[in-house]
């Protein structure tokens, strides 16, 4: 069981853990002596906290910089204790530690009372979904083991946690430095009838309600080790909730593709018929479907997750730069990543006192905010109130995890950012005096954006080249643009990778808008595009139209290409098919051919 210890700086977290480890003989023999010897050598009095604050910087400054794991066991079970730093500077380290915990101790100094980070940490526990919290009131020796003082703190802090819907399982008065109520009781606090720290460890419950929840498997990867002579196509991932069996009907979201489970794959085990929550497993399917990594695999018989591009979320911001509207971020949600935009800030909450600010224009470091976020393409998720494991995400800014959030509600996304943008662009588009119809009449043909898709790069290039040649020879204003030219020219200021893909697509769409507006037949070919990419190109190219010619296996989810050519299609026949399609679409008129 993982248990985190949090609280305000200097309230004694590391001392409590150090003492607990020493009193329960959980420290390797060498270590206590080693730390004591180092203290003697540096003429410092020994402190239990040094056992944990093993890093040089920490001993020098007397604070915990990063979370440390300690290992400890009782008769009942094994524990990993995570010591989280209390200093505000190291809040992201505290979150790292706390997010792994099944239960938490929040430490409050009896003399100093409830401080800013006592409250902030309480808030973060509630946001991280840790609902077993015990509160330790430390340094009781400094207030003469006064029961009334203890009760005051307990009352005030209970009231605060209550506002976060957190009910602490216990309040424990202790003195870590004197070893009071850590492993053993003391006559100094005879009035305390509740558990000691050690007893509380064993009293935490290791609840795992996850197996009774709907089945969710974020598809981490799809393996096929063909070169090693292995033909299995394995959908791999860690089950975040629920159970699945061989034979179960399954659905992938957001694509909506369906199949059923043929086998559960594993190495060095007996044959498995069933896999449950927490297992890092792999499945093969009866019917092969084309699915990308990052989709959510669910059971057809279970309640479905939501699919959408806009949602309301509570986020916690850790980034050095603030979260702003004008910038594109990346969201990592389950096994998927997508480009992300902040649409609107509803409310910024100061986690240290729960006061809120309505009109803030940006989310600063250490702020908690309720906001509307939009992904570039729809993603599958659950609401955190239904299934917390598939309702939370992180936000990447400049290579760093800068924010963490939980999804509260799906928001209708018909009017997405891209639609708004295209509408505005078209509204203020300034045309000359030549209308598209007039241009078409003079040129003798209409304009069109022809996109070749599919995996066969060479075939696409041969066909597109031949199409351009034949159209030009028939006196049609045509231009075939190879994507490699765009990447080296127009796109040379952006990198070529999955994160920048959206920008490449956007520029291509804008370019198409200009070229089709000039009355031309604009041809290009793109690889690895999905439904959303084509919809984006379509939207950006509007009011002009797009023609999609797919070569080889059709990997689109619901989009139907205007023309499907088989793999390795011959250029002559393919060009003939495109010509006939252009005639059908009235781009080319029969008498002109």
């Amino acid at each position: 069981m993982n248990v985190v210890v949090v609280g305000h700086v200097d309230h004694g977290k590391s001392t409590i853990i150090g003492r607990l480890l020493a009193d329960t003989h959980s420290i390797p023999d060498g270590k206590l002596e080693q730390v004591k010897a180092t203290c003697t050598r540096n003429a410092k009095p020994f402190e239990y906290a040094f056992l944990l604050d093993a890093l040089k910087d920490e001993q020098a400054q007397g604070i915990t910089i990063d979370t440390a794991r300690s290992f400890f066991k009782t008769e009942k079970r094994r524990y990993i204790i995570i010591d989280a730093p209390g200093h505000i500077e190291f809040l992201k380290n505290m979150i790292t530690g706390a997010s792994r915990a099944d239960a938490a101790f929040i430490v409050i100094d009896a003399k100093e009372g409830i401080q800013e980070n006592s409250r902030r940490h309480g808030y973060i526990m509630s946001m991280l979904g840790i609902n077993q919290v015990a509160v330790i009131v430390n340094k009781m020796d400094l207030v003469g083991y006064n029961e009334q003082k203890f009760n005051e703190i307990a009352r005030e802090y209970s009231e605060f946690l209550g506002r976060l819907n957190l009910r602490p399982v216990s309040f424990i008065p202790i003195s870590a430095i004197n070893g009071v109520n850590i492993g053993a009781r003391s006559t100094d606090i005879a009035w305390h009838k509740g558990p000691t720290v050690l007893e509380q460890f064993d009293a935490f419950e290791l609840k795992d309600s996850r197996t009774s929840l709907p089945f969710r498997l974020p598809v981490q990867d799809i393996y096929k080790f063909t070169e090693a002579g292995d033909d299995r196509r394995i959908f791999a991932g860690t089950i975040s909730s629920g159970t699945a069996k061989v034979g179960d009907e399954i659905v992938f979201l957001p694509s909506g593709k369906t199949s059923s489970i043929k086998s559960i794959e594993s190495f060095n085990t007996t044959e498995k018929k069933k896999a449950s929550t927490g297992e890092a497993t792999g499945f093969t399917l009866t019917k092969q479907v084309y699915v990308k990594q990052g989709e959510l695999m669910v059971k057809a018989s279970d309640p479905m997750p939501l699919v959408g591009a806009r949602f309301r979320a509570n986020i916690f911001w850790m980034g050095k730069a603030p979260l702003i509207r004008e910038k594109r971020y990346t969201i990592k949600l389950n096994a998927t990543r997508s480009s992300l935009k902040l649409v609107n800030i509803i409310n910024v909450i100061d986690a240290s006192d729960l006061s809120s600010e309505k009109n803030k224009q940006q989310v600063d470091r250490h702020d908690v905010a309720e906001c509307i976020l939009e992904t570039l393409r729809p993603v599958a998720f659950d609401l955190v109130k239904d299934i917390k494991f598939t309702g939370r995400f992180v936000i990447i800014d400049n290579y760093e995890i800068a924010g963490a959030g939980i999804i509260l509600e799906k928001v209708a996304d018909q009017d997405s950012t891209l639609h708004d943008y295209v509408r505005d662009r078209e509204f203020s588009w300034e045309s000359g005096t030549i209308s598209p119809a007039e241009r078409a009449a003079i040129y003798g043909h209409g304009a069109k954006f022809v996109v070749f898709t599919g995996d066969e790069t060479t075939t696409k290039d041969i066909i597109a080249t031949e199409l351009e040649k034949q159209l030009i020879h028939s006196s049609f204003k045509t231009y075939y643009l190879r994507m490699s030219n765009v990447i080296r020219g127009l796109d040379s200021d952006i990198k070529y990778g999955p994160e920048e893909r959206e920008e490449h697509i956007r520029r291509l769409g804008e370019l198409a808008r200009i070229l089709t507006d000039s009355g031309q037949i604009f041809i290009t070919s793109v690889t690895n595009v999905d439904d959303y990419d084509i919809k984006t190109l379509q939207l950006l190219n509007s009011p002009h139209e797009i023609l999609v010619v797919n070569i080889g296996e059709n990997k689109f989810n619901s989009l139907v290409p205007d023309l499907n050519l088989e793999a390795g299609a011959k250029a002559g026949a393919a060009v003939e098919a495109v010509f006939s399609l252009l005639r059908q679409k009235k781009v080319l008129l029969d008498f002109q051919i």
Partner: protein
Amino acid sequence: MTHLEKLEALSVHILREAYREFKSLVMLWSIGKDSTVLLWLTRKAFLGHVPFPLLHIDTGYKIPEMIEYRDKFAKAWHLNMLVGENSSALGSHQTFPDGKLNRIECCKALKSEALKHTLSGEWPRKRFDHNLGDYIIDQNVEAFTGVIVGVRADEEGSRSKERYFSPRDKQNDWDIGDQPPELWHQFKTDFAPGTHIRVHPLLDWTELDIWEYIAKENIPIIPLYFNRGDGKRYRSLGCYPCTKPVDSTATDIRGIVEELKTGKFVNIAERAGRDQDKEDGGGLETLRREGYM
């Protein structure tokens, strides 16, 4: 799920995440029990396959049985096995056993430096050619940007603060004060050009967990860990001038587990037999900041 099943699942998840996110990935295999468990977990993650190369840094002072064992399993499991070394230090006898360096300096030269330059591709890498049955100089000199390492948090103070995905800058430096957050199975997998990532799938495992898992899975571990009649066994493997065997009667895995659970080692630090840790207050931390694993 049992304790070991949970540990296994998280490690497998981390390995798969690393494989998905990093195109130029390598796993360090020291031949010791931890990285051998890591190798086994890799076969779990990829259903019997090991889809990235393994790298062994040979200091030239490894116990000879370690090299035999390495090559035996490289063959048996069809591993893409790479070996690197600091040939100039070894050639010019600039080592601790030669009396030219202290233990820490020697570790730095034969391990940290060798590792750094082998990872970057500046120093030659030997690759096991499965057709020839021998090592040849590898033609691929591309730098590895993701390095999977079998360190455990319980080994030593500075390791207890590591991340599962831990960034290193161009100089291989570890900025302990400013580590990335990790939460809800989301790790730092985005990194600026010039930096690279160390991946630590075994961070939550203890020495006892490792042995219990070896027993459960029946992993073929190098026999140096067992007492083979002389009343001694290695608890931690390294170079022979700096690693001493411990007194032990454990002749098999069960014996080792007993020893760790209730017997003589229940409260003795694992690296107690490693001399370089004792040289200054933060010996291993100093080495780790500079790239030691």
